[in-house]
């Protein structure tokens, strides 16, 4: 290991191989992208509330394609929606979330000095960084960035004649995602190897904190599904640039008869969603891992049903590979196949329900301490209940006939995936900030941030279900073309109001974060009185994590308020007392 090397600025902050610094690089990049993605949504929400009007918000985003003329035309609208989705799904909730917490927590919580390969880890970040640069550069292309939705279905995404965004913007999108996938694969393999091989003495799999379990399963999902996205994208690149016909057949576009025959866009959809569905769990599971840890620590109770929690994670991960067809019920697939996908999809609700019950049981008779992290962890549980339930409607093919691709879906996935995961990410940042920067984040600003976000987020996403049940399709630039949607303008204005208010509350977070890095009050070694190993390291960041020997683990991570103990927590390194049984 390189812990005795002398560090200069470049090796410490830029090309660093220290997992803790790489985690911060992912976090800051992810936060930057979150701000960009959020601004985009603010712009198109303004459009949906006041069709055709201009907004000063336009001046905040770069790119001639956006702010040349006054209003937001349909092409720009679709471009913004597409980039918003891409950024939030991949940049913020995949790389930003897993990249930050897998890097930060895995070595610290399993008792390792660093990742198995610091070098691969560094590469993983720099591939991600390159992907970010390429994606952002596509905002400055004259024809605009990719605009076919984050799901980039061909032929729309394959033919530059179909929409302006399918030109250079789409090429850059594909290059960017390719780099992104390479980065996540390097990261993912590293996480798996590290967890399997570098656990310290006594850290058996049954003693792993649930965060590490969740990060392990997430990494496995990523390693199995991202290569499929890569091949899916490669075939699309071939169709776009080399005249092949994997996804194209029988097309006349702009009066031009294309030669392609025999391909099928449905093939693309199968490949895409084979990644796409596991991807939603790649986003969700790390958040659930974080939440399990934060809830246990702050309820001062063991997480209820540890084994069931691990089992549920494994079952969800397994099922997530055989449900992708629920995104394709309306593609004309054989109805029998639709039945199979309905069956597997609805099964996921069972382990999901078990997780919710176990969280509730953990809170029951706890001694709950409401840190800002705890508030956000509870936010995740609430969002998971609200959003998971609507999945039961969408997963039922018969019902999906009428809600597929409507705002009902938008409401569902923003709550179950967007909110659950973002809240989980906030919980993680508030909880481990003292470990990351050696200082505390301000508590009262954290409270303000939580309540503002919690209220506004439900104000944004809950009403969307009603839009969907009124028949409103997603990805519409304006709702004014159909008289049947005239009555919905009040709802749209309400949503936009909450969206803008919610955005303002994020300023409190950003401020608190950067202020506390430099000026926050100094943290103590174990500010939350937790059991896990990261809190046995010194407050000052050191290469190699522990100054002396690696810690030896003798018990699981959840001995909170154990009868017979003097304090309401027992470090994992504390040997079992005579006659004491492990939980």
């Amino acid at each position: 290991m390189s812990e005795h090397h002398k560090e200069n600025f470049i090796t410490k902050y830029v090309f660093t191989q220290d997992h803790k610094m790489i985690a911060k690089q992912f976090l800051i990049t992810g936060m930057f992208m979150a701000v960009v993605g959020m601004l985009m949504s603010a712009i198109f929400r303004v459009q949906l509330a006041n069709p055709g009007e201009t907004s000063i918000l336009y001046n905040l985003l770069p790119g001639a394609w956006l702010n040349d003329s006054g209003g937001l035309n349909p092409d720009k609208y679709l471009a913004l929606v597409t980039m918003h989705g891409t950024i939030l799904v991949f940049w913020v909730l995949t790389a930003g979330l897993s990249g930050t917490f897998a890097n930060f927590l895995i070595p610290l919580q399993i008792g390792a000095r660093d990742m198995a390969s610091g070098f691969l880890n560094m590469l993983s970040y720099w591939f991600f960084f390159l992907a970010t640069v390429v994606l952002l550069s596509s905002l400055f292309v004259e024809t605009g960035p990719a605009s076919g939705g984050w799901t980039i279905y061909p032929p729309l995404s394959a033919l530059p004649q179909a929409i302006p965004g399918s030109g250079t913007g789409m090429t850059l999108w594909l290059i960017s995602i390719t780099l992104f996938v390479v980065g996540s694969l390097l990261g993912g393999l590293n996480y798996i190897v590290t967890i399997l091989n570098l656990r310290t003495i006594g850290m058996t799999m049954q003693r792993l904190p649930l965060t590490v379990w969740a990060l392990l399963i997430t990494a496995i999902l990523g390693v199995l599904s991202f290569p499929v996205l890569l091949s899916c994208g490669l075939l699309l690149i071939f169709d776009r640039s080399f005249g092949t016909s994997f996804y194209l057949s029988d097309i006349i576009i702009n009066g031009e008869v294309l030669h392609n025959e025999g391909g099928s866009p449905i093939l693309f959809e199968h490949l895409f969603w084979f990644l796409g569905h596991p991807e939603v769990y790649i986003i969700l599971l790390p958040a659930l891992g974080i939440v399990s840890e934060v809830i246990a620590v702050n309820s001062r109770k063991p997480i209820f049903g540890y084994k069931a929690m691990v089992g549920a994670l494994l079952l969800i991960a397994f099922l997530s590979f055989i449900v992708w067809g629920h995104h394709m019920f309306m593609t004309g697939m054989n109805p029998f196949l639709g039945s199979v996908f309905t069956f597997t999809t609805l099964l996921i609700a069972i382990p999901s329900a078990v997780k919710v019950f176990n969280y509730l049981a953990t809170l029951w008779r706890g001694n709950i301490r409401f840190t800002p992290a705890m508030l956000f962890a509870i936010g995740t549980v609430s969002a998971f209940i609200t959003g998971g339930l609507t999945g039961i409607i969408l997963g039922d093919s018969a019902l999906d006939i009428n809600v597929h691709d409507t705002y009902f879906v938008v409401g569902h996935f923003h709550i179950v995936m967007g909110l659950s995961a973002i809240y989980g990410m906030f919980a993680g940042v508030y909880h481990w900030f003292p470990k990351m920067y050696g200082r505390m984040m301000n508590k009262n600003l954290g409270y303000l941030h939580f309540w503002g976000t919690f209220i506004c987020a439900y104000g944004v996403f809950f009403p969307m279900h009603f839009l969907g049940l009124a028949g409103l399709p997603r990805r519409y630039y304006s709702n004014s073309a159909f008289p049947m949607f005239d009555g919905l303008s009040d709802i749209n204005e309400l949503i936009t109001f909450f969206a803008l208010a919610g955005a303002i509350f994020q300023v409190f977070f950003l401020f608190n974060f950067f202020y506390s890095i430099f000026k926050g009050t100094k943290a103590t070694q174990n500010p939350w009185k937790s059991n896990t190993l990261e809190w046995t390291t010194p407050v000052e960041r050191i290469h190699g994590n522990w100054p002396g020997e690696l810690p030896v683990v003798t018990r699981w991570a959840y001995d909170y308020s154990k009868p017979g103990a003097d304090e309401d927590f027992i470090l994992q390194t504390e040997p079992l007392k005579e006659g004491e049984i492990e939980h």
Partner: protein, 326 residues
Amino acid sequence: MTNILIVVVVILLVATLVQILRVSELLSEIKNKDVNEVTDKDNNTQGILFLIVGFGFLIFVIWQMVTWNHLLLPPASSVHGTQIDFLMKISMGLILVVFFVLSPILFYFLYKYRGKKSNKAYFFSHNNKLEVVWTVIPTILLTVLIIFGLKTWDKAMNVEVTESTTIIEVYGQQFNWTARYSGLDNNLGKANFKLVKGRNTLGVDMLDSNAADDKMAREVHLVIDQPVLLKFRSQDVIHSAFLPHFRVQMNCVPGMTTQFGFTPNKTTAQMKESEGEDFEYILLCNKICGASHYNMQMKFIVETQEEYDVWLASQESLETKLLTQK
């Protein structure tokens, strides 16, 4: 000008925040207390807030259900749609019950078990009986939903096509829809994208004997209680034919034909009576397809056999349209 103002305001706000934080931290230092330590008082406030905001959220949900109920789609205007609506009622009822049980429990627990320094939590790490119970209950409920759902799906998708089924093609392109009636023989003539030319916008093969009596139309007329089979094609990118009032949706995919069969059971006139004079059945596009995706529509009209016959007779056949006129 506004930009400069905004920047100034933002800077001032940030400066104010910094000062407030500074002051509060200095104050607590004087009192020798840690500002960021969560006190019993904090726990009390936050617990109560969860009770108030949490139940406020539940009331907001109920308020939405009451105020916006009239905006939702009216009951289905098709036979299978009525079954879907029934399934929807049951599923919605079920998830609403679960929602209104679990959310209050969550918010109540947060209030009830808000912490105190002097309290100690109850060490409770697992309970097999309890865990089995709450695995089995959702399993049973979901089994019921799955069985019921699959039956409904099966009935909706596997429609029998008989002599009396009217076959109509719906053709999507950026950014409009065209319909083609199959004529007296109730057989659509073959079509191929290479034959699209001039007025033959659908690429119908006029050498096919089934094609001559086909009719093209810019709106779709249907007969009440008469089964219809819609066949979908696309010229360029994926579109999705969405008829929300009939609970019908199917993607239109270039290179293949998809279909959806259903039986409308309320005429447009009847719907106008219950829903207002402006009511129309409408076909929307529900798969992102480009700039005017948001405005890709075609009217559907359900009427009596007599009205339909009159309308259909007034449409010219492809033979007249493409072959005899020059």
